[in-house]
Amino acid sequence: MIKQMGFIFNADACIGCMACEVACRNENKTFANVKWRRVTKISQDSFLSNSCNHCSSPECFRVCPESAFTKRYDGIVLIDSSLCNGCKLCVQACPYDAPQFDYETNKVTKCQMCYPRQDQGLLPACVEACSTAALGLTDLEVFMDPKAVPAIEGFPDIRITQPSIAFYPVRKKERYFLEN
């Protein structure tokens, strides 16, 4: 049946430890500037761990002159790098910096949501590596939670692409700072 596998990112739980980012490299052996997943601090209160969001309406698809992208029934967006001509239109079109241009091969690669692992019933390496359960995986065709939101502060505009990611926002905290 048709699914839309997507990430769930709990901004309240993420500590920015980067384990997901490096676990991705450990699994997929990406080197140098090619980062399929990245952890950044997107606002005063929140980190973001972001990869390809396997959008419902992927712009990379629309702009690719070689039709190098496909979408699996589970929603995972793949690029067949052998078809890539290195034009970088997808790199410009993607709001999430998901397509990564490899300067050594002159081709684009990107997060494939560890589909070989998922096909074996394993979680993507990044999700498995998250020790605080800030990063999760779900089928967004059936996922429902009124506490979840479609975007958080600092996340790129989700219009048009409809990224397959749901968020839990940061909760309010109490803080005392020295007044000097």
Binding site: I2, P58, F61, S67, P150, R159, I160, Q162
Partner: protein
Amino acid sequence: MGNVMIPEFAQEMLAAAENGLNGIAIKLSQFLEHPIIITDPLHNCIASSLENLENHQTEIVIHLHLDQDFEQLFFHCVLAYNGDFKEALGHRIIVNNLNQGCIFTLLESADGEKNLMDGYESLIHYAASLCSLQIKKDKEIKQERYRFKNAFLFDLLYGNFKKKEDILSYGNIWNWNLLEPHVVLVFAIKDFNYFSSDRQLIQTLLYTVEQGLTQNRIEPITFSKQNEVVVIFPKKTDTRNQQKETEFITYIMNQLKKTELQDRVACGIGKTYENPEELFRSYQEAKVAFELGQLLEVDMPSFANMGLETILYKHDLQALKEFYYYVLGDLLEYDENGGELMYTLENLAKYQFDLKQTSEALFLHRNTLRYRIKKIEEILNIKMDDLNNRLNIIAALKIKQLHKL
């Protein structure tokens, strides 16, 4: 086991079931010498031994007798259909513990025949079981086909087919001639909450769209996903003429007003493609058009009609902002002290720099407008009648609108 005989009627009914629910209805009617009607859970007739009812999806109204109850397997009632009233004996058809319809035996008159039927109860019960099996089978076939069809459309809309022949041969299964040009239309629910019960609304949307296509005698090639229903709309002639699809959209929008969706649906139209391999682009374009349509407040946004906007929407935001402030920054600064020159300029651009139309729209005297234009020209240090300047202004204003600056 001793010498167990399977009754003849059972053998015959089973054989009749080969012809589906109608076969069952006709055979049962022959045994009982009474007409038979089979309905779905919404009381639509789906099979019957009566010629005037057969396959007509006639709605049947059931009046239960006071002492009767739907929870019973057998019940007596009065059926109303086609202006007729008939006494009937009902029997529920149960599939997987759910009520999936009824099998009715029509009676000539009330009480007398009630008792007459007593001897045939086991026969009716047996027929109902056969109906239940048949309905289950039909459902599975339908689901299987639906799943198969959805998978095909998914691959088509996401460009997963890399060979045209594959698309055409799959399309033939449903008699879709994908060699003809098509355009993709997207109907999507606005402000959709993906993670809540908004989800159920999509079924209503899909139903309305499919009904609309059937009404317009168009083979429904539809696909639903999250908040949207996608239509692959055939364009038999003149591919540039958008009249057909706009008429269709208008029709659907009107139909939707009657449902709980009301005005929560907006649409987007992709470009027409002759090659089915390119249809996925039309789909993505339709979705971009949908989003831009919302931003620009266009009712029937078509990607083909959106020139500059599609470029400006995708371009690097920082560069766009810089361009915007480069072109109109001085005017913004001037307006900060309460001026409304930006508003004037926006309207001027809206009316193609036509003084007459603009002044009418703004309820301004033509001279006042002229004075304001002069002021704008002074502030921006440009001449408004230069076509290049006009283009810059139009682009900057579109950036403002698209990116909500």
